[in-house]
Symmetry: C2
Subunit: 199 residues, 2 copies
């Protein structure tokens, strides 16, 4: 019986959300991806509209080039709002983890939590374009590719800024899987086999 949180970091379009939902169903544990937006908005006492301006972004002001500490500051107005949002999100993630095993997608959860099992899923860009278009046939391949590159760059910068670690470096995760070769189903089966041997 799994007693730990599973975090999933993912390149855009590689199937991280799909993998997380399959694991959640199989292991019968909660799944959090976009659900974290409303939970964190509540934590910050902002409206969701205001909140989304700062969500998953990094500060751009000169005085905030150094990564913030993970601990809470007081008063909160002394640190950039993006950092406050990250801290609030980290509190939400820790609070969810305290309730028991669950799946958390993105949000640097692999570094926020200390004892999670951390997965990273990725694929060559041609596989990701193909996968996204198979799910949304009206999309333009060039626009999809632009969106993939932009989102990956933002995720990489965000992870680097808030954790000081390198996004996609294998040793930061327990299992890294290319969904381009084996599909999300192959990754899912590999994760289940691996989890079956976790202490």
């Amino acid at each position: 019986m799994l007693d730990r949180v599973i975090t999933i970091s993912r390149e855009f379009g590689s199937g991280g959300r799909e993998l997380g939902m399959k694991l959640s169903e199989k292991l019968e544990i909660p799944f959090y991806d976009k659900e974290l937006i409303s939970l964190t908005a509540q934590e910050t006492n902002m409206s969701v509209t205001e909140f989304l301006n700062y969500y998953e972004s990094i500060p751009v002001t000169e005085q905030s080039l150094e990564p913030p500490l993970y601990t809470s500051f007081s008063p909160l107005y002394e640190i950039p709002i993006s950092d406050q949002v990250f801290l609030a999100q980290s509190r939400v993630i820790k609070s969810l983890a305290e309730k028991g095993p669950c799946i958390i997608v993105g949000r640097c959860a692999d570094r926020v939590l200390e004892d999670s099992i951390n997965l990273f899923i990725y694929a060559g860009i041609e596989h990701r374009i193909e996968r996204i278009i198979s799910l949304n046939k009206d999309l333009d391949p060039q626009l999809v590719e632009n969106k993939i590159r932009e989102t990956d760059r933002k995720r990489k910068d965000y992870y680097q800024y808030y954790t000081g670690c390198e996004w996609g470096k294998a040793q930061n995760y327990h299992l890294c899987l290319d969904s381009g070769l084996a599909g999300v189903e192959g990754c899912y089966q590999a994760v289940l086999s691996y989890l079956g041997h976790c202490i």
Copy 2:
């Protein structure tokens, strides 16, 4: 039926050789690790003693700071001996791959070959010290740790020099596995599940 070569890159002491041998036995395909030393020595027409001075090292002379091309040079004496050894080893690897599916450990085989399935296995240093000492109970833990750090540094430099790629970056491999959490057996089972879905 698997019709491709499997390459295994590995942090020292993480169980790459053990994983390769298990896969070789299960899939009934040849396994090459240290076996490549004598095969490559034959290819270079050097004695094994002379050959080992240059094996898995990078040139230190000033004129060879640029990575060499993968193609053959003529005459060979124009390039550093370490580079000649790497080129000879690459020819041996390609020749083995042409004969059919096999397992190749290390030697930048993941970049030398174009259509291999590439694995990377690693573990926290404390797990690797424990694993090595469980296999050789007389060893001193501090000396083991020193050996691990030195060997990993050499492997990283060697990979970077000859491939121009980053050793341990997840996207360079199809599957990356931490043997510290699930053991070599857990990694082995995960690889089998993943391979079962490869196209």
